[in-house]
């Protein structure tokens, strides 16, 4: 208990003093995570909406695959991206291995199925409401998808948050493709893993508290924005 309290105190101290190393790590963590979530939304939202709203051969299979990919093991993704980006891999000449870009790629691969699968479910439910009206108006596939994504936008913020939660807490893939290089690819989770392996449990715990606080702030901000936007829109 005393060590936990000491860790809390250390965490507060790190934040209050504005430790430059910590701020750098937090900054990179947020940059990698938010970029990956944004990329995953760009890819996953339309995929989920198409599978949720349109009828095409193989749609059920696509839904099963999306749901299954939500459980992608991070280390497997890390390994695949590592192999693709390593010198002998197809993307080796790009020189991306052990860079933040490699971490973003890995996290995007992990988060996209989550965004797509949850979007599919939300859009499918909304489309059940709209289907007859859309059919009556003869709304085309593109307009359907756009309309459903727009009308479900507040629910889809929760989807983005789920993706953020997965990405910000991820360690297996980013450590494999980022290498946890100090001042280059070191993020919160890889630092926690490193400090734990060195036996600096109090520092690791302090960083964990900081990570949780960041997640809490981001979630709170998004949910507040969602509630305010919904209230203004539905007033």
């Amino acid at each position: 208990m005393s060590s936990f309290l000491a860790s809390l105190g250390e965490a507060v101290g790190l934040i209050v003093t504005g430790d430059p190393d910590l701020l750098e790590i937090i900054g990179l963590s947020l940059r990698v995570t938010l970029t990956a979530v944004a990329a995953a939304c760009v890819i996953g939202l339309p995929i989920g909406a198409v599978v949720g709203a349109l009828r095409f051969p193989g749609r059920s299979l696509a839904g099963v695959i999306l749901n299954s990919l939500m459980g992608l093991p991070p280390v497997v993704v890390g390994l695949m991206v590592y192999m693709a980006l390593s010198a002998g891999g197809p993307l080796g000449p790009l020189g991306l291995l052990y860079t933040p870009t490699a971490m973003i790629i890995a996290q995007t691969i992990l988060v996209t199925p989550i965004v797509a699968a949850l979007t599919k479910q939300i859009v499918e439910d909304l489309h059940a409401d709209y289907a007859e009206q859309f059919a009556s108006l003869e709304v085309g596939p593109f307009d359907r998808v756009v309309a459903l994504l727009w009308d479900a936008r507040f629910s889809l913020m929760t989807v983005a948050l789920a993706g953020f939660g997965r990405a910000v807490a991820e360690v297996g893939a980013v450590i494999m493709v980022g290498g946890n290089i100090n001042h280059v690819t070191r993020v919160m989770t890889t630092t926690i893993a490193l400090e734990t392996s060195k036996g600096n449990l109090e520092v690791a715990l302090a960083l964990g508290v900081v990570l949780l606080t960041i997640a809490l702030i981001v979630n709170g901000a998004v949910m507040t924005f969602r509630a305010t936007a919904a209230r203004v829109t539905y007033a």
Binding site: S136, L137, V139, D151
Partner: protein
């Protein structure tokens, strides 16, 4: 012979065939031996009807008798198992569908403002620019919702939503408007407002096909009546004739509030 604008060419077996056809208005919509099966059951059974331009046709019958299903088949929302729907003499296609609109029992409102609901419908139907703006304004005025244009459609009252749904359908300039029990869950004031919209649409030349349980509404709004029982058309004629002197046992029993079960149902 009674002359109506409505014609049932070959009703279900066991019912006296009617051949009442007026000379004038164009047949907009006709069905030929229309059937629809689901779950191993025949839900719509060999329906042959004509809907003539400018008429107001009421479709009546007990719950589960196929009224809503028939409207959806006529509107092309679901394909028939057998038979066909003809629009101005040709199989119902995209062009025919564009000349139609439908209002559902539970109005389907997008999660947008009232005016955005109108804008969406007009946009997908190809209206742009000032014409779209003009139609939006006219539809809001028609529905008496000018003051609620920016309000979220889903928070409007049931009556306001249904008025908006009718106005939205009419804003796309349909030649024929299908309405599936549009006032089933409305109070008398809201019912009156929706009926007024329907009257105005008819006065503007829109052909009306309306499914209803409300005898009073059928009398107020209808020219012709199609009475259905167990997926079949069992009686047709002018509204007043069918309601005042039903010839079929199914219609007679329904109007008298009696339970009617025949062997084929």
């Amino acid at each position: 012979m009674l002359e109506t604008e409505f014609n049932v060419r070959s009703p279900a077996p066991g019912w006296r065939e009617e051949t009442q056809r007026a000379a004038s208005p164009e047949v907009l919509l006709e069905t030929r031996a229309l059937c629809f099966d689901a779950g191993g059951r025949r839900l719509i059974d060999r329906i042959d009807i004509d809907i003539r331009a400018g008429r107001r046709t009421m479709i009546m019958g007990a719950n589960g008798t196929g009224k809503s299903l028939l409207l959806r088949l006529l509107h092309g929302l679901i394909p028939p198992t057998r038979g066909e729907v003809l629009w101005r003499g040709r199989p119902l296609d995209r062009g025919g569908r564009h000349a139609q609109a439908m209002v559902f029992q539970r109005p389907v409102m997008l999660r947008r403002s009232a005016i955005a609901n109108l804008r969406f419908a007009l946009a997908v139907r190809g209206f742009t620019g000032s014409e779209r703006t003009t139609r939006e304004t006219e539809a809001l005025q028609r529905a008496q919702l000018e003051g609620l244009a920016a309000r979220q459609a889903r928070v409007l009252s049931a009556g306001e939503q249904q008025r908006l749904a009718v106005a939205r359908a009419l804003s796309c300039a349909p030649r024929i408007l299908f309405l599936d029990e549009p006032t089933a869950s409305l109070d008398p004031v809201s019912t009156h407002a929706v009926e007024q919209l329907i009257r105005e649409a008819h006065a503007d030349g829109v052909t009306i096909v309306l499914a209803t349980h409300d005898v009073g509404q059928a009398r107020r709004l209808g020219d012709d009546l199609v009475f259905m029982h167990a997926g079949r058309v069992v009686e047709t004629g002018r509204v007043s004739d069918v309601l005042n002197a039903p010839r079929s046992e199914a219609a007679r029993a329904w109007l008298e509030g009696r339970l009617y079960l025949d062997s084929s149902s």
